[in-house]
């Protein structure tokens, strides 16, 4: 445990070492949030509802998904592909630690860094914009939200690793990752709450793993889901976690067989 704590801490230190890049990355995030924030403020005047959301709920959704992105989507798994392609994976294979646990610890370090920045950003935005926010006070709903976020974190971890493992077969891993993030922005609900889509489309998306990364935890937080829908959602997400774990492990073992330590 102490080993993985140190790995997470090292990842934090790495992010601090490249402060400028990290700050700019976060600044980009703020500009994106601002676009969505003002867009929704204009389309949703005070005391009106649209798609079943009032202003406070939609603004909470926009700012909440921004904060949640820093928790769920922050990852260092993009380094896996370059480690494989440059042969650095060989060093790792000789060390007495688990591949998945090592990268999960790195993800946690990166998430901690992102969360600390996101909290400051949201506080600054709150200070300047004074947005109407929905504050959830029901402790049980807050517990379910945390549970949904935790499942989302694990689920996204396997996606990140799986994309990195493409490195076993190709040098060009940025292309699939680029497409994945475009799909994620939409299907995870980073752009808008997914339930504003036509019903049939939304029902289909609900079966995919992506909504359980951002959209679902935010809906739980907003208290807009019936208890049965919350349990159903968490169950689907857990099934996806096991499925993704199986696929990732299978691909990892397959990849090790074709690994040639090229570049060392």
């Amino acid at each position: 445990m102490k080993l993985y704590w140190q790995i997470a801490k090292n990842t934090w230190d790495q992010a601090v070492a490249y402060r400028a890049s990290f700050v700019i990355y976060r600044l980009r995030n703020i500009l994106w949030v601002l676009t969505l924030y003002f867009l929704w403020i204009v389309v949703l005047p005070e005391n009106t509802t649209l798609f079943g959301y009032n202003r406070a709920q939609i603004i909470t959704y926009v700012l909440g998904t921004s904060l949640l992105s820093s928790v769920v989507l922050a990852t260092r798994s993009q380094d896996i592909a370059s480690d494989i392609n440059e042969g650095n994976l060989s060093n790792f294979l000789l060390r007495p630690m688990g591949f998945f646990r090592y990268h999960f610890a790195r993800d946690l370090g990166d998430k901690a860094m992102n969360i600390s920045f996101a909290v400051v950003e949201i506080a600054v935005l709150f200070f300047f914009l004074r947005p109407p926010l929905f504050l959830q006070t029901n402790l049980f709903i807050l517990f379910l939200t945390l549970l949904a976020i935790a499942v989302g974190v694990v689920l996204f971890f396997f996606f990140g690793v799986l994309l990195g493992l493409i490195g076993f077969w190709s040098n060009e891993t940025w292309g699939p990752r680029f497409i994945f993030y475009q799909l994620l922005t939409f299907f995870a609900g980073n752009l808008f709450p997914l339930d504003i889509l036509p019903k049939q489309v939304f029902r289909f998306i609900e079966l995919l793993p992506f909504p359980y990364l951002l959209y679902f935890p935010m809906k739980v937080y907003l208290g807009q889901l019936a208890p049965l829908a919350v349990y159903k959602g968490i169950s689907i997400a857990v099934v996806w976690v096991f499925l993704m774990y199986g696929i990732t492990r299978f691909v990892w073992l397959k990849g090790l067989r074709v690994y040639t330590a090229q570049g060392r």
Binding site: T35, L39, G175, F178, F186, L191
Partner: protein, 260 residues
């Protein structure tokens, strides 16, 4: 001039060959850009079709803002892609090599790596632009001419910004982050500037060039841009370009060739 056009064609041809050597990447990159465009378009259609208008603009007019932003973004990236590689030239000392060539180092640093990948999506986008203009209706030839002129003007502003970034790269080897700030800043123009609350909309109009780059061309083609606005856009780009060139010359004088 002829020499530079010929050189640009040769350099672009080489970069294109390199890009297409990795076909897998080409397919994913292009597809990813199309997906990104479509998803944001769906988002706009969803909300504006429900509210009927956004900051006083109809759905097709809002889409025109988004399409115009994308055209400027694509054209800028196509011509000025080399700026993204500039830092490595400075850090590795390769910039010295550029300085010794009988070719403007600024030209080489700006236009030396035009990437055809950036242009693939432009053709269907232009087709979509014509469709959008047709849907809006009441577009005049004069409006279209002014739109094109203001798009060229937007490119000049983008060019000036990239020259500033190159200058910054020479002095403090910082390029990537500055470019990203520029891109995210202009991305605020995906939607009409009127969406943003004061003082942000004022800043985007009078301090940052987002309005002059994206809002003004759209307003011109819609016939709602005042002549003061047109004048302001051209004066802004002229001053910005001159200032960027002066900064570039200043940066070159500071260059110490420390990496070579």
């Amino acid at each position: 001039m002829k020499k530079y056009i010929s050189l640009w064609l040769t350099m672009t041809s080489r970069i294109t060959q390199i890009a297409f050597a990795s076909r897998f990447g080409v397919v994913f990159f292009t597809l990813g850009k199309v997906i990104r465009f479509l998803f944001f378009l769906i988002f706009l259609v969803l909300i504006v079709s429900k509210t009927k208008s956004l900051a006083g603009y109809t759905l097709w007019q809002v889409i025109l803002f988004f399409v115009t932003f994308n055209i400027i973004d694509i054209v800028t990236q196509f011509f000025l892609r080399e700026v993204y590689r500039f830092r490595s030239y400075i850090v590795s000392g390769s910039f010295d090599y550029m300085l010794t060539k009988p070719l403007s180092p600024l030209f080489r640093s700006l236009f030396g790596g035009s990437d055809i990948l950036d242009l693939i999506t432009l053709v269907p986008l232009l087709g979509f632009l014509f469709y959008v203009l047709n849907q809006i209706g009441g577009i005049t030839i004069a409006g279209v001419v002014l739109y094109v002129l203001l798009l060229i003007n937007a490119f000049v502003i983008a060019l000036a910004f990239h020259i500033f970034v190159l200058g910054l790269g020479v002095i403090i080897t910082e390029v990537d982050n500055a470019i990203w700030i520029y891109r995210e800043m202009t991305a605020l123009g995906r939607v009409p500037i009127a969406v943003y609350r004061e003082p942000i909309s004022w800043i985007l109009t009078f301090i940052l060039p987002v309005a002059a780059m994206i809002t003004f061309p759209v307003q011109a083609v819609l016939g709602i841009l005042s002549w003061t606005g047109v004048l302001l856009a051209f004066v802004f780009s002229g001053i910005f370009l001159l200032a960027s060139l002066r900064f570039w010359r200043y940066a070159l004088r500071q260059y110490s060739s420390a990496s070579s």
